[in-house]
């Protein structure tokens, strides 16, 4: 029997914003990355969220393939004219975001509350 996919995202809806905590510290291996992408896509495709806040507080490491999943999510949200914000990103991951140009295409906030205010506008 196939193993049950691990739940990598915890979702709380606040004023129609999906506040999503990423529960996995290390998003490195192929299987986890695949599940991460599927669960991110599900926020839009299955749950129909259009305003999404991704909280990275628990994330220590992300591979380039995991970064790619964020690009896919961004495109999905753009397609439904929604909004996406990221918050609480560890300094080393933020450095990776800067060198890959992600700081130019994502709205990134230090704290969840600031990101929430941006999404509620």
């Amino acid at each position: 029997m196939a193993a049950q996919p691990k739940r990598l995202l915890e979702v709380q809806v606040i004023d129609s914003v999906a506040v999503v905590s990423i529960m996995q510290g290390r998003i490195l291996d192929d299987q986890v990355i695949q599940q991460f992408g599927e669960q991110l896509n599900g926020l839009v495709d299955q749950s129909g969220h259009q305003r999404i806040l991704l909280n990275f507080a628990k994330v220590e490491y992300l591979s380039s393939a995991a970064l790619g999943k964020l690009v896919v999510l961004r495109k999905k949200i753009e397609a439904v004219k929604g909004k996406l914000a990221l918050s609480n990103i560890d300094a080393s991951i933020f450095e990776a975001f800067k060198i890959t140009g992600f700081d130019r295409i994502f709205k990134i906030f230090d704290e969840e509350q600031e990101a929430l205010q941006f999404l509620q506008k």
């Binding site: 290390r26 220590e60 380039s64 690009v71 961004r74 890959t100 140009g101």
Partner: protein, 147 residues
Amino acid sequence: MSVRPQASALLSLPECFVIPSDACAAHRIREHIAGRLREGGYPERDVMDVLQALDEAMVNAIKHGNRCDGQKQLRISFCVDQDCFQICIEDEGEGFDPNAVADPCSADRLDIPCGRGLLMMRHYMSEVSYLEPGNAVMMVKKRCGCE
């Protein structure tokens, strides 16, 4: 990014493994290297930086170098020193010119989900260079505090 002649530097690394070109074998060698770094007293941050770069390099070697051909292999040699860790990952592909890889940060490519592995390797390691003909990558991680 530099491309160096494939020379004795590669052969002089003391620990060498030839593994099948697949994710399970890559995972086993990754765990072995993590253990060797921890035995060598490397801080956890360094270990994780190396593992992250190693994952990116092995994915590149398996997917782009060996084109997911299960008959092909990877040669991985490394050295855990007091001050630095060196590793070489060689695939059986034709090689490539790392300088010809499109910049994933250019405005027209930021929206593309892949192609950031090399940048990540350079971010997490102290040095990254390719050996001719571009089918072997040599990476160095200086131990934290030894930069």
